[in-house]
């Protein structure tokens, strides 16, 4: 049985704004086991970054956690003081932020920024910390590292900055690494290197990774499990094979269906826009854009229906009384692959 290191239960987060309360996280639960990679995918604005920032105790000032718990081992992160969080952050739980420029200090040499967590948390002396920083800088693929370690953030390209941010996050060998779009700014070659690096590190020190990305190709290659978010809720979760080859929620169908294939002439975008979280819909949040929506979707939030021991989806389509619908062709194709995989496994 895998060791559970993080357990998030019924998390609810609001943002107070002039226009009213933005209900950004609406009852989110998930867990993370030692050494695994959980990918969180989903609509822009669905709450992926806010969820993970709350794990770090880094919510904006206008945020309020209105319910739930975040158990890291046997301690509730939500009950920690800022002082206590400072000892966890960067050491036990580290985060690679979506916006590299705001997570780097423009006035500080990058070597100093990489070395600092080591000096602060691991009490390594300055010289040794800088030499470790240099090794890491080479590891993340910055050429002329000896020279460039003395440079400031603005002297690097978008992708180079992101690699520096990654170096800072990895330097203390954290137990949990939260990576929020860590490779979005990177080209595929460097992306492949960084992903390989994260996997290696994961094997070496059994780091657990929470990986947020829009790139479903990256998810396919990195994740053990996947959670799909929409409008502040998780609508489906399962193993990577279950989500990619046997998806159940129409939003997950829409996601998998919107990617270009070699023969696409027009991309299948999901029409419409996500709901306004100032006044979220009371039923399935996807109802307005869901071509398979039923009356009950507008009225009542669907519970999680069990698909397998590891796979759950919150859609009324899984209710025993729901009509049978035909998913998009691309999903039917994927389900066929799933059957093949399962048949293969059974042998």
């Amino acid at each position: 049985m895998a060791e559970r290191i993080l357990d998030v239960k019924n998390l609810k987060i609001d943002f107070h704004t002039y226009a009213g309360d933005v209900k950004a996280i609406r009852d989110v639960s998930f867990h993370l086991d030692k050494g695994e990679t959980l990918a969180i995918v989903g609509e822009s604005g669905s709450g992926k970054s806010v969820t993970t920032k709350s794990l770090m105790g880094l919510l904006a000032n206008n945020a309020e956690v209105t319910g739930g718990s975040i158990m890291f081992h046997d301690q509730d992160i939500l009950k920690k003081s800022e002082k206590e969080m400072q000892n966890i952050r960067g050491k036990d739980i580290a985060m690679i932020f979506q916006d590299p420029m705001t997570s780097l200090d423009p006035t500080m040499r990058i070597g100093q920024q990489i070395a600092e967590p080591l000096i602060k948390h691991k009490h390594v002396d300055k010289k040794k910390a800088w030499s470790q920083a240099l090794d890491l800088l080479k590891l993340v693929g910055i050429t002329d590292a000896e020279e460039r370690i003395k440079n400031y953030p603005h002297q690097f390209s978008g992708g180079q900055r992101q690699r520096i941010v990654i170096a800072i996050a990895l330097v203390c060998y954290p137990e949990i690494l939260i990576a929020d779009e860590p490779t979005t700014a990177l080209d595929v070659t460097i992306q492949a290197q960084i992903l390989e690096l994260m996997k290696e590190l994961q094997e070496k020190i059994e780091t657990s990774i929470i990986f947020i990305t829009h790139d479903l190709g990256v998810v396919a290659g990195m994740a053990d499990r996947v959670a799909v978010m929409y409008a502040g809720q998780i609508v489906e979760y399962g193993t990577v094979d279950e989500i990619f080859f046997n998806p159940q929620h129409p939003y997950t169908w829409g996601l998998l269906n919107s990617m270009p294939t070699l023969s696409s002439t027009k991309l299948e975008a999901i029409p419409g826009t996500p709901p306004d979280l100032l006044d979220p819909p009371k039923g399935d949040p996807f109802v307005a854009r869901n071509p398979y929506a039923m009356k009950i979707d507008a009225e009542q939030r669907p519970p999680f229906f069990k698909v397998s021991e590891t796979h759950y989806a919150a859609t009324w389509l899984l209710h025993p009384n729901a009509p049978k619908v035909t998913p998009p062709d691309e999903i039917i194709r994927r389900r066929q692959t799933f059957k093949d995989i399962m048949a293969h496994k059974a042998i």
């Binding site: 822009s44 080209d187 790139d215």
Partner: protein, 316 residues
Amino acid sequence: MSEKQRKILEVKHLKQYFNVGKADEVKAVDDVTFDVYEGETFGLVGESGSGKTTTGRSIIHLYEPTAGNILFEGKDISKLKTKTDFLSFRREMQMIFQDPYASLNPRMKIKDIVAEGIDIHHLAKNDAERSKVVEDLLETVGLNRDHSSRYPHEFSGGQRQRIGIARALAVQPKFIIADEPISALDVSIQAQVVNLLKDLQREHGLTYLFIAHDLSMVKYISDRIGVMHYGKLLEVGTADEVYAHPLHDYTASLISAVPVPDPEYERTRKQIPYDAAGEQDHPGNPRKLREIVPGHFVRCTEEEVALYKKKAAAYN
């Protein structure tokens, strides 16, 4: 590309160096030449630090080129003299910036950010018209019209990116440099934005320089693709050709690194490594873009042309 198509942009031997003459001199763009035809999408791909953004920023004249020329509609942009010339250039060419965080002023409301160009170029008759245009643009890019009174920090990464797109569209430009415009967006919105960019192109004859590292999307949206590496263009051709029949080893390596949304495939994907050692320039043996098959160019020496021709022939 048919001969009849009109060149809207000509980049000629562009060099853009930083810290010139100092120990840390960077040749961010090093002798790059390419044309963009009116109404097409030219995709620029290449690894991080290869000079894509710098090329874009030079084209929109945020930098004075170290050497070379950039012609927009036949006019050298370094020689725009009068303020009117410059303003009209700025209206015709817009850039969607790579970093949606740094490029939005945190103290401005969304409507004022989007309307910046409308104000500069006096494109709205009155406040009501200005609001209407802004709200329509927000909807076009998949945001809510009541978002217009909020500030950038209240938005997620992908939402901010779309604000940047709305701002660029506001002045109805002819030419848009889109620097990683969709990489911060989730796939369904990527599809929306890409479809939107394509629709706008069809309706208004827009031309795009589309900078991205997501090769599958670049292939989908672009008519032609240029592959950059260390400040140089290594390969140029139609999107289909470059993707299906890559000639340069670097291009092949880049394509092999593209993750595919299929866990089964990913478990066994093999990446082709690339070694740049063979790219050295020897005196009297200059490397430049040479046409291997019609419309498909590779940076190579005179001697290598025959090799590449053989390679191209082997594909068919």
